[in-house]
Amino acid sequence: QGLLRRSVSHSFPSFASVTGACQAIQKLTRVRVVDNSALGNTPYHRPPKCIHVYNKTGVGKVGDTILLAIKGEKKKALIVGHKMPGPHMTPRFDSNNVVLIEDNGNPVGTRIKTPIPYILRQREGEFSKVLAIARNFV
């Protein structure tokens, strides 16, 4: 469901050759939006792609903000899980998950069903509203 390597997926058809995960999330990575916002869930012929990572290095890990291009619009988003293995005891997800966010940090959607890592709780100040709408934690 929404996995990048399959040729049949509900939001976008991708028949071109697909790369696996090399670094975590950087420019031009296709991501999966996990909240229940309209922007994230309506199907479009192009998948949501990262166009900028707000980081000194261009690589985004869990808890970094990125700029996403969805449905021809630019939107900020928060990374909640990536395919690249991280430090031990932290979860590694099977897809690059992202939650849409406004400029002031308010989430666009109202519910997040997919599990979120507990490490985000460390930065409770910035992400309190996102953590409040999350249901499952891993």
Binding site: H88, T90, P91, R92, F93, D94, T114, I119
Partner: protein, 246 residues
């Protein structure tokens, strides 16, 4: 108790108690965790001896059960950011890696249609409890192909009750052949290098034959790669079991 005749029942001696000598049976089934076996190399065995002493110290304080790849485990870790400070994760063990104190095992589960894998360190002080929920060996010792298999093979209920353990008997081998998602996969599991026995390949015959082109049949006869661990295991087993009994 009166019998059918109406006369008092004949004295029947109580059934003989069956004495299961648990210590003997435990000795018959020896299991040495794979991280005790030192890797092949030129390092001083003193380093491994000191590491083993530390590992045994930790095992005396915290019980690490015997488990193999394919078991379903529930691990509770101490997490400062979780509610109640503890975090419980249930999953199937897909890989056991590392030697010595850095030994790790990867648990996989699919929660809400999202596959999650966590690599835990066996000897980390953050781990508070490891419970074996289901004892089941699989045909391979590396189940990484579950990432490319249909998600139903990796889903395990988080509130699963521990299946009752058949004591002192062999651990059952589950000969399940897993069905895969359509290609492309993260690794080409049909190639003989991975030696995967637990997948039901639904690929055409030509693809299977083409995959055999990459077979290296001389590898098993390569003498320079040989590493016979039987004698090392015997020594280490004696050492470890003596230390643990103290």
């Amino acid at each position: 108790r009166a019998c059918s005749d109406g006369k008092p029942a004949k004295f029947q001696p109580p059934p003989k108690p069956v004495i299961i000598d648990k210590q003997k049976q435990r000795e018959e089934r020896r299991f040495l965790s794979p991280e005790f076996i030192p890797p092949r190399g030129r390092t001083d065995p003193l380093k491994f001896y000191i590491e083993r002493k530390d590992m045994i110290q930790r095992r005396k304080v915290f019980n690490i059960p015997e488990f193999y790849v394919g078991h379903v485990l529930a691990v509770t870790t101490a997490d400062p950011h979780a509610n109640g400070k503890t975090n419980r994760f249930v999953g199937i063990c897909i890989q056991r890696g590392g030697k010595g104190l850095g030994a790790t095992f990867v648990l996989r589960n699919v929660i809400e249609d999202q596959g999650v894998e966590i690599c835990y360190e066996l000897y980390s002080p953050r781990i508070q409890a490891i419970e074996v929920l289901k004892l089941e060996k699989r045909l391979d010792d590396n189940l990484m192909y579950l990432r490319d298999a249909l998600p139903e093979y990796s889903t395990f209920d988080v509130n699963m009750k521990p299946v009752s353990r058949l004591h002192h008997e062999d651990i059952p081998v589950n000969k399940l052949q897993v069905r895969m998602k359509p290609k492309p996969w993260s690794k080409r599991w049909e190639r003989p290098k991975y030696n995967v026995k637990g997948i039901k390949f639904e690929l055409p015959e030509e693809k299977m034959k083409e995959a055999q082109k990459w077979s290296q049949p001389w590898l098993e006869f390569d003498m320079l790669r040989e590493y016979d661990t039987s004698k090392i295991e015997e020594k280490i087993w004696k050492e470890v079991s003596e230390e643990l009994k103290k």
